[in-house]
Symmetry: C2
Subunit: 267 residues, 2 copies
Amino acid sequence: MATLHEVTDPDDPRLADYRDLRDVQLRKSLEAAHGLFLAEGEKVVRRAVEAGHRPRSFLMAPRWLEGLSDVLERTEAPCYVVSESMAEAVTGFHVHRGALASLHRAPLPGLDEVLEGARSILVLEDVVDHTNVGAVFRSAAALGFDAVLLSPRCADPLYRRAVKVAMGSVFHVPWTRLPDWYDALTDLSRRGFTSVALTLAPDATDIADAVRGVDRLALVLGSEGPGISRRWQESADRRAIIPMSAGVDSLNVAAACAVACYVAARR
Amino acid sequence: MATLHEVTDPDDPRLADYRDLRDVQLRKSLEAAHGLFLAEGEKVVRRAVEAGHRPRSFLMAPRWLEGLSDVLERTEAPCYVVSESMAEAVTGFHVHRGALASLHRAPLPGLDEVLEGARSILVLEDVVDHTNVGAVFRSAAALGFDAVLLSPRCADPLYRRAVKVAMGSVFHVPWTRLPDWYDALTDLSRRGFTSVALTLAPDATDIADAVRGVDRLALVLGSEGPGISRRWQESADRRAIIPMSAGVDSLNVAAACAVACYVAARR
């Protein structure tokens, strides 16, 4: 059972995990240095714990205690109970959903484990916006994809904004970081996947044709600005495009992902 | 030709249009009170002017003057030239794309004008997030939709964040506000559109079946949280769903929009 600690001093050092949540740069370095991440809201906190992330602590106003009593019962982590105005003073924003948890990052699974039995996977190259990474996970979950692989420079799926946009799906869609950027797609081919890269390259074929009949599919999406790198374009098995209106050259990466997943789910 | 004014005092009242761009509430009331909106970046500023929005003024660092010289030549509005650090001090953020313009909002066109010749339109009910509204416009433009209609409570497509996410497509996809929420869909039916509402209602049919063979299509998307209101669900001609995996009950509205537009474009 979590122990409850009423905290009235916003500078209390025990609240360090929850400081300045709107400062992206500061949070990134803090979370990396301590191997932690934040979950926000009763539903997301519960999902994070159920997915095997061990709580470091909780921070919440008294009225949120009851809703999370089942989670608090099963942990030894401290729960800091604060007023709503103090939660706002510490985190730097109005905590709409009341409950926050700081959790240890579980070690990332290996590629073998993530790909075990997977038939449809997404591979992201350098998608740097947390909102986009979160949206990709949500679409992957909704449209039946089995796993997500991230290039080393992709934004962190466990960053608060990404977790929120993903509606917690980062906790049930298996994912990991690719250990090697350069040979990532050739390695997937060796493992029996057909990689289909979404690109505006001149030899790209209609996505519906490119995925038709493919058994194990790795759908590859590139960065918000430049799209997929030349190396990945060249090492993908196929290059595909979502047909677009004249004069408009691209969809947002999250929108393109949703369309491509929809089409691929019907291959 | 715009007149150039070098400004060195960040409190200069002539810069009032550009203050505190990150403060959403303050900006909303300021922009409504003065009938203005902000465009950011050379490409977006040019598109806004070309779409017929009359500039009130420009604000930029010296190095951005040349890129927009064609736009500045064709206007009498003042152009305030400031250092990059001063632009940051006034607006409250680092102005990556250098050039800002404050523009008069052109009067919204009437429904008759927006629907003239349109075959595929999007109708948004109470989509309140600027990022989502922007993403919907970008998908509409890319996937061949002819117009967007907004319920009275939808977020403003001319808000800076929406314009940015839309990549300026809010300036070339015709749009307007619906004058009447209650009878909006029945009015569209009278005008010859078949309205198809995306919903999780039990009688919703697969979106691909719902749009098949429809001539004039009004695709209806609801609010981020509650989805489409009961009134609109009941007054839509058809209710449709994007088939999803068991246990996941929804896509983000922007992702759902992209998928539905893609499917509808192939009806």
